[in-house]
């Protein structure tokens, strides 16, 4: 064996090698990724700030949003949604590519790298991309004077947790896909869109009929948004609810990642 190969070291750092390779591939798309990450907040903040927000406030002031300006109210939700979209991109396409389109995971698994490390590496790379996207979004929020610099920086963390939670579950489903024909349509129309609309994004979850509220309760977007709102302004949610949001996001991420790792290992060993 090549004397430079240190198997225990690979066991410790293998996931980072995989993440580094993924980030290198992502970097090939840096222009498009940056354009999306800049364009997305820009368009939303303009449309909501000078469009919908004005309309909402001219009709009902800030009574429906706990006394907070409408743009500020939805900003943490937009941030969490941007994180979810970014993680989704990096947890779904590379996984289908890895197992099916280019079979890159099989190449990685032909080295001392394990299925577990591949899953964790892809996940870490997806989170890195999200840190980039969400940070840019946050800078726009500061620039548009939507939030004040300070503790509101924690909205970044809340958004990343929402993205990480959703992404871990999506990664598991992507690793299960044998035929991707309907997956994207179903995901977009039946999961992403309802989640975006019914997770207290544009109005408080409590203002919806009780039978629609469970969509928010099981949605990482709602939990991330609520935490983000608490960080961005004095939203007034209880410590217990903060704990519930945190536990939910961490638990879903842990379950999703555990299932993903198991599925990666199984599929690679087939």
């Amino acid at each position: 064996m090549n004397t430079g190969i240190n198997v225990p070291q690979i066991a410790r750092f293998g996931a980072f090698y995989v993440a580094a390779a993924r980030i290198r591939s992502m970097a090939k798309w840096k222009v498009i990724i940056t354009a999306v990450d800049v364009g997305n907040p820009l368009f939303y903040l303009i449309a909501v700030g000078i469009g919908i927000g004005v309309l909402v406030e001219s009709n009902s002031g800030t009574s429906g949003t706990n006394g907070i300006k409408y743009i500020a109210f939805i900003a943490p939700a937009l941030l969490a949604n941007a994180a979810i979209t970014g993680v989704m991109d990096e947890c779904v396409f590379p996984v289908i590519e890895g197992f099916k389109w280019r079979k890159l995971f099989y190449a990685q698994n032909a080295t001392p790298i394990t299925g577990r490390q591949i899953a964790i590496g892809v996940y870490l790379a997806a989170l890195s991309r999200t840190v980039f996207s969400v940070t840019i979004y946050y800078l726009f929020l500061l620039a548009f004077n939507v939030v004040d610099f300070g503790i509101s920086v924690l909205t970044i963390l809340a958004a990343i947790m929402a993205g990480g939670s959703f992404g871990a579950v999506m990664m598991y489903f992507a690793a299960k896909i044998e035929k991707e024909d309907y997956f994207f349509n179903v995901m977009q129309r039946l999961v992403i869109m309802p989640m975006f609309l019914f997770s207290g994004t544009f109005f408080p979850l409590s203002s919806m009929p009780i039978y629609l509220q469970p969509i928010g309760w099981i949605s990482p977007l709602w939990h991330g948004t609520e935490l983000g709102r608490e960080a961005a302004f004095d939203y007034g949610i209880s410590t217990l609810m903060i704990a519930i949001h945190l536990v939910f996001l961490v638990a879903v991420a842990a379950i999703g990642l555990t299932l993903s790792i198991r599925q990666f290992e199984r599929r690679l060993a087939k």
Binding site: M1, N2, G4, I5, N6, V7, Q9, I10, A11, F13, G14, Y17, V18, A20, A21, R24, S25, K28, R102, K103, L104, Y106, A107, Q108, N109, A110, T111, P112, I113, T114, L268, A269, K270
Partner: protein
């Protein structure tokens, strides 16, 4: 440590009710070039995946450098270079980036990998393509790059699954030349193929496989000597007459195979046999005398051709 780098005993692999590999045993010594020859579906790729420590077995024992690949997957894989049947390069990255990231999966230092890349680009005749995206390479170039990638860690054993399938004749010959160089350098090669000429060119020793089992084992020349005659006379009388003349021809040679399009007659002197046929006033539309090949060995052992 035993003399064998690879030791396989009674290897069996079932997929539900289907037995892909059935009680296979073989050994591969250091520096040897060993081939698994058989048609598609013979179980060759399944064996390769088990040797590559990426697939489990149903029964039997497998040891690679005295270690069970199922128990010591990463450690065993640290010794291997793997060239899969289907290229799985990262098409978005360049030639040298593909080599670099692969080297990193072995935990090798950046300095070592960068020096190795130079050496491998020369080996794979891809020096001028180093900064080209893999997507833009021809099939032959991708194959050479995949082999170069498998060598980045200086493996003890290089596993090649159908290394030239899908390549044009010229690309195949370039690849054979590269693999032959590795063989000369003492790299232990294990390859699967359904091309008899490839097995004859590259392998010191082969096992002939069919339906998950080993039919015969030996050197290409030894197998031909054991299971076939020195020469083969191929005659064609037209698809209708082949069957008609077959009983007459049968009496003239030691063994005969009637294929849909031609009759193969096995003899030590093919020209002499052809003279006997024409003396009988049986005039084939075409005739060809050639030396026996592994294809004839396979036909003898299984009653079928390698590529059907």
């Amino acid at each position: 440590m035993s003399n064998s780098l690879i030791s396989v005993r009674g290897l069996t692999k079932n997929f539900d009710d289907f037995t892909a590999v059935n009680g296979v045993s073989f050994e591969v010594a250091k520096g040897e070039s060993f081939g698994l020859l058989g048609p598609n579906g013979a179980g060759k790729s399944t064996i390769m995946r088990i040797l590559a420590a990426t697939s489990t077995r149903t029964a039997g024992t497998v040891e690679i450098l005295d270690k069970d690949p199922e128990k010591f997957g990463p450690l065993v894989r640290a010794h291997l270079g793997v060239v899969p049947q289907q290229d799985n390069l990262d098409g978005e990255l360049t030639v040298s980036e593909n080599l670099f990231i692969y080297g990193r999966y072995f935990g090798l230092s950046k300095r070592f990998i960068n020096a190795k890349i130079e050496e491998l680009l020369v080996f794979a005749q891809l020096e001028e393509k180093r900064n080209v995206k893999v997507e833009a390479l021809s099939g032959g170039m991708k194959r050479r790059l995949t082999i170069a990638r498998g060598l980045v860690s200086e493996p003890d054993i290089l596993l090649l699954d159908e290394p030239t399938t899908g390549l044009d004749p010229q690309a195949r010959h370039i690849l054979w030349d590269r693999l032959f160089r590795l063989k000369e350098q003492g790299v232990t090669l294990v390859l699967t193929t359904h091309f008899m000429d490839e097995a004859e060119q590259l392998c010191d020793r082969i096992v002939v496989m069919d339906k998950g089992a080993i039919m015969a084992e030996g050197s290409p020349a030894g197998l031909i000597k054991e299971y076939s005659s020195k020469e083969v006379l191929e005659v064609r009388f037209g698809s209708d007459r082949n069957v008609e003349v077959a009983p007459v021809l049968q009496k003239m040679c030691e063994r005969m195979e009637t294929l849909p399009d031609r009759i193969l007659m096995y003899a030590d002197d093919g020209e002499k046999l052809l003279e006997q046929i024409t003396a009988q006033k049986l005039h084939p539309t075409t005739s060809l005398v050639r030396r026996s090949s592994l294809e004839d060995v396979f036909l003898r052992l299984t009653g079928r051709t390698l590529i059907e």
